[in-house]
């Protein structure tokens, strides 16, 4: 039973993260077309950087606690990536350098977007599998 609920939660959770990334993508394209200035952009996005990392880490922690090893392992590389960025102190967006590093940021955001999309369907599949297994 627990696994079904866990993955249901994970589905909703990853959908939220997915939308978060869509927001990032939109903001970056706004910057490119001058709808927003780099200072406001960075102030806005920087509020969400650490919460996003934390949210993702929390989900992974749940998988760990519930003993969902594959799901946990699936998330491990991204956690390592995020932790590495925080350790190097370059996780925040720097308004003075944003135009120089914009394409890098965009690539990273698209990658995360794809990752959350993949996780969404994976959790969905796992949820269905879990529910089916329960009913049998």
């Amino acid at each position: 039973m627990a696994a079904g609920w866990l993955f249901l939660f994970a589905v909703l959770y990853s959908a939220a993260l997915l939308f978060g990334m869509v927001f990032f993508v939109i903001m970056f394209s706004d910057l490119e077309s001058d709808y927003i200035n780099p200072i406001d952009l960075c102030n806005k996005l920087n509020q969400f950087v650490l919460p996003e990392y934390a949210a993702h880490a929390f989900l992974a922690l749940l998988f760990l606690l519930f003993g969902q090893w594959t799901a946990f392992a699936f998330n491990l590389p991204l956690i390592a990536f995020n932790v590495n960025k925080v350790m190097k102190k370059n996780h925040m967006y720097d308004a003075t350098e944003i135009f120089r590093s914009l394409s890098g940021h965009q690539k990273e955001t698209y990658f995360k977007l794809a990752f959350y999309l993949l996780s969404f369907f994976y959790y969905l599949y796992r949820m269905i599998v879990a529910l089916v297994a329960e009913n049998e």
């Binding site: 001058d34 200072i39 308004a95 120089r100």
Partner: protein, 932 residues
Amino acid sequence: MASPAQKLPVGWAAEDNQHQRYLFIETATGATQWDPPASQDGPNVQNTPPVAEPSVHHGKRRQYAAGQTQVYYGGGEAAPDLAYPAPGLQPQAVPGAQLFTPGLVGENQFATQQTHPPPGQSGYYNQAESEYINAPSFGQPPPPYGQAPVDALAGQFGQMGVGGQKQFHLYTTNLLTSPPEPRDLQRPPPEIRLPPNSCISPSPFANAHPSYQRCTLNAIPTTSSLLTKAKIPLALVITPYRSLKEGDEAVPVVTDTVIARCRRCRTYINPYVQFLEGGNRWRCCMCNMTNEVPQLFDWDQVRNQPGDRWSRAELNHSVVEFVAPTEYMVRPPQPAVYIFLIDVSNSAVQSGMVATATRTILENLDRIPDEDGRTKVAIICFDVSLYFFSLPVGSTDSNMLVVSDIDDVFLPKPTDLLVNLAESRASLETLLGRINDMFQENSIIGSALGPALQAGFKLMSPIGGKIVVLSSTLPSVGPGALKNREDPKILGTAKESGLLQAAVPFYKTFAIDCSRAQVSVDMFLFSAAYQDVATLACLPHYTSGQTYYYPAFNAGRTEDAIKFAHEFGEVLAMPIMLEAVMRVRASRGLRMSSFHGNFFVRSTDLLAMPAVPQDQSYAIEIQIEEQINTPFVVMQTAVLHTTCYGERRIRVITLALPTTTILSEVFASADQVAIATLLANKAVERSLTHKLEDSREYVFQKLVEILIAYKTSMTSGGAGASAQLAISENLKMLPVLVLGLLKNVGIRQSAQIPPDIRAYSQALLTSLPSQILIPYIYPTFYALHNMPPEAGTIGENGVILPPALPLTSERLERHGLFLIEDGQTIFLWVGRDAVPQLVQDVFDLPSYDVLRGGKTTLRPLSNPFSERVNAVIQKIREMRRGIYYPHLYIVKEDGEPPLRLWALSALIQDRADVLPSYQQFISSLKDKVITT
């Protein structure tokens, strides 16, 4: 270098000294010299090429023995001020010695050991050497590339060209056989050959002068694939606010506020538009949009009568300034505001910085721009507390207000802190005279620079302006406090680039606040110890200010005080552009892709500059986004700004360049100076985002790519290919400029460069305009003891400089007096066998032995030679734009090693430690190019 021992004449020995060169010793007398000795009887040794003239003198010159004395004034008939000959040189050889260029033998050896110099090249070189003697002077540059030396030929080809447009012709040079020629750097870039009728004005000022705006390519490839084939980076180098020296053309001002701009792309009208329908409409040269000509365009508002459109400045001048109407203002023009933050901690007072700074401000109060009487000034001192000064109007007194709460800075008083310069002049003068005495006994160590900046910001943020920081210590308390992170162990390692990045985010975030409030910051740094220049320089970098660094400043040394007072005075007197934004527009197909320099990028193509100082350079990389179908393209820089006397203006600089579909034209039109300027910016950027190692590799690789591209597309290959390293004549100096850049303190491979010195050098590399940057990476080298008679005297264009020598110590002679300068420092190199008369004439000392090396002021003496040497030094200090006043160092050939090595490091064609000599560099380039 193979041992030359077997080739030596009898009685000579070769000794390998630490310079990786051989020192030749005449065993009988103990005389030594750098040049390989010739045998006593014949003028030539086997190895010397048959260049008869110089080697005859050469044979004689080396005959002197150490210690042999000689009456300097010869037989009394040789003109005394002609040259300081080597002791032992026969008087009758003196006239010849003027024409004789020392080291020529060595150079010709270099040339002849290679094969097949291209026709025309060798003759050109000999000519150039002798031409020096009659060279007019600095400031009258030789003709641009593509005209000399085969102008007649070019003309013939030009006539064959279609439609009368002259084509670029490519002259290939072999880098292996043609050593760098310093004079080439004085040449203007390849000529811009626009198609006929592209410009509506016959004015010679219709296209931008390179000192304002130059492009790395003076013929733009029509497709990005063509550009990629050439491998040459496409970029603009812009110095929009160039200072004007005497005799320079002033920028014309359009005062009638009739500003014609394209409706679609907002381009300003310029000499490259087309008038249609009887002159009622004009077609934009960038987007082809047809626009209405404004109603008052042909009206002379001054005389109130119809005017002549064709005499309007914006249709005849590439660089023009428009007086802007109110639509271009967000608020009424701001007054100029200066806030001085003066460090008064113990070390600052003890070094004499406070006294010198306050005296300089006092002496320059009249020069601070204040034509409209609106300029405002404030002074805040700081150690670990802040000291404000209230200067009530009409009083000659001031009150000091101390704020010790530095975590939450507040202004102790709402008024009288920021005062009108003219109204409070009296109290300001009294205050400036007293500050040093007030803090004379200050024993507090430490600096609250961050809080002081915040206080200054609070005071001026409603208006904007310039904060001038004068600091002698590492910020230690409050926001923006820094730690000493200098660690000798990581110098020269991959981690070194960390020391060049900002240590804390404060100075970047604060810079953004400043940029928003139109506040610009200048940093004057003086510490003898680590001051974290890299972090502090962020603030000027993003607020369009500038960093000035006087390591171990000590006003007790007059030279230090003079240099700082001169430069600081110039900065104070400099007119500045306030609340400026800059944008570069270009023809369809071109896009400004990345920006280098001191500003904040506020949107994809808008650069925010709260205060633009004069003579600051910016580099902008350009992308070719789509195919260009026009015969020429236009790039226009517009700087909207408020002048420091309260007028809103737009400075517009228009550069038109032809397009090309031919690869050879791309190479033939390349501007090596602009390319080197761009590479300096790119190298510094890379050293921060990657590693110093990567940045050097990047620059080197870029050069290799260009050479490979040239080899594969422009030369036929075949049997002779391995014997040459080909490049077009106009890019001949690029390899040596790149070598100079790789050896520059900013990115040089070394474990001995303090991070502060590196960071400062990087700040210079990214902000100096080409005119000052090029000598900074490729210094100038003169021989003074045998300079031609007219050198050092006044010519048509001021003082005539001696001919510049290639940067190699082969040219140093033991009896000589040499000058090496890079625009920031001047070295006066005295050979150890300098005759006493020379030492007497220049330094007023009896002999070389009592001469002391180091920083010095050279007093003019009443003898012709001293006057000429001083005139040359004076000229060097004044001839370039910019505020820099180089220190003068006397370097004795056998003096203190650090100073000697420093001076020798300017001779970049020599091998030094791990850094290759020019020959080694060229052969490593050749290896890379051949193997691919």
